[in-house]
Symmetry: C2
Subunit: 451 residues, 2 copies
């Protein structure tokens, strides 16, 4: 059992709220600051990709007994529905029978998590911006503006769960020896929607993550409980087929008619949304160290913002909490050791998932439409079903396992090298399900390091 501490958390998002639940259950006193108003009392801004909860996320929710409540708000998606131009929709299952990722609205989930954290006794302080922090003394400073007198709030421990543009990290960055990088994609995104059909029925298969892969850009759609879909258009800022180019309603209409003609009629609010909703940027942020003076730690996006193409952003943040919690259980009040191991264990894994997520943009936006890619996936799927002890596809290891992301990245590269050779076999498109292919994979696995 832990000696109760006074803990301050910045950021009432998903990671901040779940961390509050964990810390309350351990007996700590928890305050959560957010510069924004309580999202339970406001219209949600509608600037967020729907989330896909997968195994790592569920594990963290289950441990504190709230999986069921969250599951009730989510829709399982067991496959990609791939909309290639001029072809029927093609379905590609994510994993084995019964494996799925779960679509949930960020706003709906966040509201629920805040309710649950409040239920545990955490105190939320909304509309309260943290302008400064003392890293040595664990004091948060709030106030109306940076130029006015700030109010100090003394804690024993502070967690910066304040997202990609974390104020806590900003302060750490100004101290010496803080490694930091932020890298933006030249691709941005815009949220759009497909409203529910008559009788609140989904207008497309609701158990799929729909993708319209178009090379340098793509549209995706994730189902909501109310029958609607949240869509996201990923597209370069500049150049051919870019946000810059689509600057009139006429151009947007022509563009959607040309590239997304099977769905444009389901998007009655397209033009309004396209010009009302912001074009948002995609950034990868890495930093080190994550902790300061055994009193302040970063968690979630504040420590490691990633691009969304593996659907892991929230899941990796929740896994931070799982790891932190198991260290707390192991080392009790020794926060120096807890913080040290927390960073040592997490940093390589969050770097790995950043890399995997970055790479997956290529897979989602272009390769999913490629027949060679589909063949490759089918060969992998067949082999892993026959030899589950010898082969777990990369997507499954990231999404349906809790193996370290570092291992996923390494094994993914190893398996890719094997599959590259397999795809070079003569007439692979004909012999792909033959003994010969299976034997060659087995042979290559035996030759190289073990899986």
């Amino acid at each position: 059992m832990q000696t109760p501490k006074k803990v301050g958390i910045t950021g009432s998002g998903l990671v901040g709220s779940l961390l509050a639940i964990y810390l309350k259950k351990q007996g700590h006193d928890v305050d959560i600051y957010d510069r924004r108003p309580d999202i339970r009392e406001t219209e949600f801004s509608g600037r967020s990709i729907n989330l896909a909860v997968s195994t790592r996320g569920w594990k963290a929710l289950e441990y504190v007994g709230i999986r069921k409540e969250i599951e009730a708000l989510a829709i399982p998606m067991d496959k990609r529905a791939i909309h290639v131009e001029g072809k029927p929709v093609y379905y590609q299952y994510y994993g084995k029978e019964g494996e799925a990722i779960y679509s949930i609205s960020r706003g709906v989930l966040n509201k629920k998590m805040i309710d649950l954290a409040e239920g545990e006794g955490a105190r939320f302080i909304f509309n309260s911006k943290v302008w400064d922090v003392s890293l040595t003394e664990a004091i948060l400073y709030t106030g109306k503006s940076e130029r006015e007198t700030l109010e100090p709030h003394q804690y024993d421990l502070i967690f910066g769960a304040d997202g990609a543009f974390s104020r806590i990290r900003h302060k750490m960055q100004r101290s010496s020896m803080f490694n930091y990088s932020q890298k933006f994609l030249k691709t941005g995104y815009k949220e759009l929607s497909i409203p529910a059909g008559p009788g609140n029925v989904h207008r497309m298969d609701k158990n799929s993550l729909h993708i319209w892969p178009r090379g340098s850009f793509m549209l995706i759609a994730l189902p909501n409980l109310d029958g609607s879909f949240t869509c996201t258009l990923f597209m370069p800022y500049h150049g051919v087929n870019s946000f810059e180019e689509l600057d009139t309603e006429a151009k947007v209409t022509v563009f959607f008619q040309k590239y997304f003609d099977d769905v444009i009629q389901e998007m009655p609010d397209l033009l309004t949304e396209f010009f009302k909703n912001p074009t948002s940027s995609l950034v990868t942020i890495k930093c080190e160290p994550w902790t300061s003076h055994d009193k302040v730690a970063l968690i979630g996006d504040a420590a490691h913002a990633i691009v969304p193409f593996y659907g892991q952003g929230m899941n990796v943040g929740f896994e931070d909490i799982t790891v932190l919690n198991s260290l707390i259980e192991q080392y009790g009040d020794d926060w120096g050791t807890i913080f040290e191991y927390y960073q040592t264990q997490r940093k390589p894994n969050t770097d790995a998932v950043a890399e995997l997520s970055y790479r997956n943009f290529i897979e989602m936006s272009s390769k999913t439409a490629d027949e060679k890619f589909i063949l490759r996936k089918n060969i992998e799927k067949r082999f892993s079903e026959k030899h589950p002890d010898k082969w777990m596809p990369l997507y499954s290891r990231v999404t349906f396992s809790t193996d370290p992301y570092v291992k996923a990245l390494e094994q993914g590269d190893f398996q890719k090298a094997i599959m590259d050779e397999i795809m070079e076999m003569d007439h692979i498109e004909k012999i792909w399900n033959q003994e010969e292919v299976e034997q060659k994979i087995l042979q290559m696995l035996a030759q190289k390091v073990s899986v």
Copy 2:
């Protein structure tokens, strides 16, 4: 000829001062702001590695006719003097006969450059910190403190030459789509000194850059005009043989007696300096874009801080000015094009010199003491002297040429691959100066892409 512009420069360091000279000669009105007092009127803080001016630096100085004046303040170093434990000093020439890098005190050089810029009519505003900048309007804001009313200064163009922790870059970083990274070495440095001997005579060879390579740490010494040497101890912050470990005078004495016994008697102020002088950090900073709204541009360390192990920091900053100047001469008043090409041309090259500088720490601190390394250098030197059209050693290309750093990095890797094979030849230590080795190098050069 250019239409005269009102130009504001932040930072009165070497790059800021030289840029002011260039811009004044082109007829612009130039103000230079610095938060520090005029270094010509203050004791220099003594926290700087001596600089080594090499070909790129001289080229930029020569173009505005001030090379001779600066040369008079510098001491040529045509070789490394390598102090290996228990062996006589070994001299390793940097280049061909007559090639040298030039040791100069940063303080001495900076004072001279400010004098020269003032002579051209540039206006220096010292003790004036720039707190904020409008990137869209090209306005600098100065004042006593961030919390008080700031005074605006309107310009047509602004150059941020305010170093590794640039305020201008800081503002650019807060805008979206700004890629940025800062990475600190786990090695820090501390300045020490060897005073002049009787009659202001140098106590060691004055035309050498002295190195005491000791693996994870090293001491270097560069000559000054007054007979003294400026020394720098590079050493890890933590662990065995670290700044953290050397926390008493007794420990420092024992450490220097053990590792630098041939020089400790020449350092009478060692203990005072060791505990008075700060331990400074070594950082690599990269960012992109370097320019904003065709009105504001970063230059020198503000755009690309590098570690000092190739002696290129100032030289790369001066080369920024050479490139910028040639674009100004080419494109006249088209600052949009000038800024665009300035970044396009410089960014890959400054990334390359960052990589080369990082790698050179390994070479300086450990490999220079290694007999295999010396043999390798001798083989390269012999070959390049016989075939100067076919082989320029990497060090020479970086230091004694104005070839793009990108080319230096590429050719360096290519030559390294060849030399790795050469060093694997049987009895290479005996046959190194034989026809056989020369022929093998020629053959490998012919097989691969041309130099």
